[in-house]
């Protein structure tokens, strides 16, 4: 089945993106540190960008630039997300003196 997937280049890129997304998801779910969770989310966003660029490259109308623009705006939004997320981590660290997610349970009912 894998050899069939490798016959078209787009499938290879999509599989790499899927694997990177799964790695990022595992990082976001498995690690205890808030910064590592943010890194996992960044990896997932990057995997989505790889999909967008790959579909743009192998799609029928690359001159319309749709996938490329989607990826560029996605990069910009991801940068904003990283800035706010890391700012929140620093603020929480100042309040609770930890970035371990299972110790930040102040809102636990």
């Amino acid at each position: 089945m894998t050899s069939m997937g490798m016959t078209t280049p787009l499938a290879g890129y999509l599989l790499v993106a899927a694997l990177l997304f799964a790695i990022g998801l595992a990082g976001a779910l498995v690690r205890r540190n808030a910064i590592l969770v943010l890194i996992g989310i960044e990896l997932m966003l990057n995997a989505a960008n790889l999909n967008l660029i790959a579909f743009w490259r192998f799609g029928p109308h690359p001159e319309a630039l749709t996938g490329m623009m989607f990826a560029l705006f996605s990069i910009a939004v991801a940068a904003a997300e990283a800035a706010v997320g890391l700012g929140l981590v620093i603020a929480i660290h100042r309040q609770t003196n930890t970035t371990e997610l299972d110790k930040i349970d102040r809102m636990k009912g």
């Binding site: 499938a11 779910l29 498995v30 590592l36 001159e63």
Partner: protein, 166 residues
């Protein structure tokens, strides 16, 4: 599918894996940078030069530096006592594996129907600039506003509040 693609994919995935698995947060940040660089090279391999260089500038130039700053500001370079993985790590791993199987299954099932244009798209930076200030000018303005708001918001959130402490 050529050697370059496999090499870049291996670099990217190895960087991602190392970022998730390594113990020291600073090492994780460096491994993330490797993954970002691999992705930028994959973009270049996909003939998306502009997106590749934007990826290098934004991710390696800004996001990776931000992550390193956050790690150093929160003293994340010290190893935690209870281990780096959460107690429910197995559940997270199963969920990630399930998501990957579904995605890979979807890709491999639809492999006959997916587009495979082989001609290199004749898109120049000039075209991208024209599209950005033409058809996509409203999203561009909104992204500019979002970035401004996010930057100000991040500064305000992370700002030291002396008055409230006393």
């Amino acid at each position: 599918m050529n050697v370059v693609f496999y090499l870049l994919a291996a670099i990217t995935l190895a960087g991602g894996l190392a970022a998730v698995l390594l113990k020291h947060l600073v090492h994780c940040a460096l491994a993330t940078t490797v993954a970002f660089a691999g992705l930028a090279l994959l973009f270049l391999q996909l003939d998306a030069q502009f997106a590749g260089f934007a990826q290098i500038l934004v991710y390696i130039g800004a996001v990776a530096i931000l992550i390193v700053f956050a790690i150093l500001l929160t003293r994340g370079s010290e190893l935690p006592k209870g281990g780096v993985f959460s107690r429910t790590w197995f559940v997270g791993l199963v969920i990630a594996a399930g998501v990957f199987s579904v995605l890979a299954w979807a890709v491999l099932e639809s492999v006959r129907g997916i587009p495979q244009q082989t001609a290199v798209p004749a898109v120049t930076v000039h075209d991208i600039g024209n599209a950005l200030v033409g058809r996509y000018v409203l999203p561009l303005e909104i992204v500019g506003l979002l970035l401004t708001a996010a930057t100000i918001g991040a500064v305000i959130v992370a700002m030291h509040e002396k008055e409230r402490r006393q």
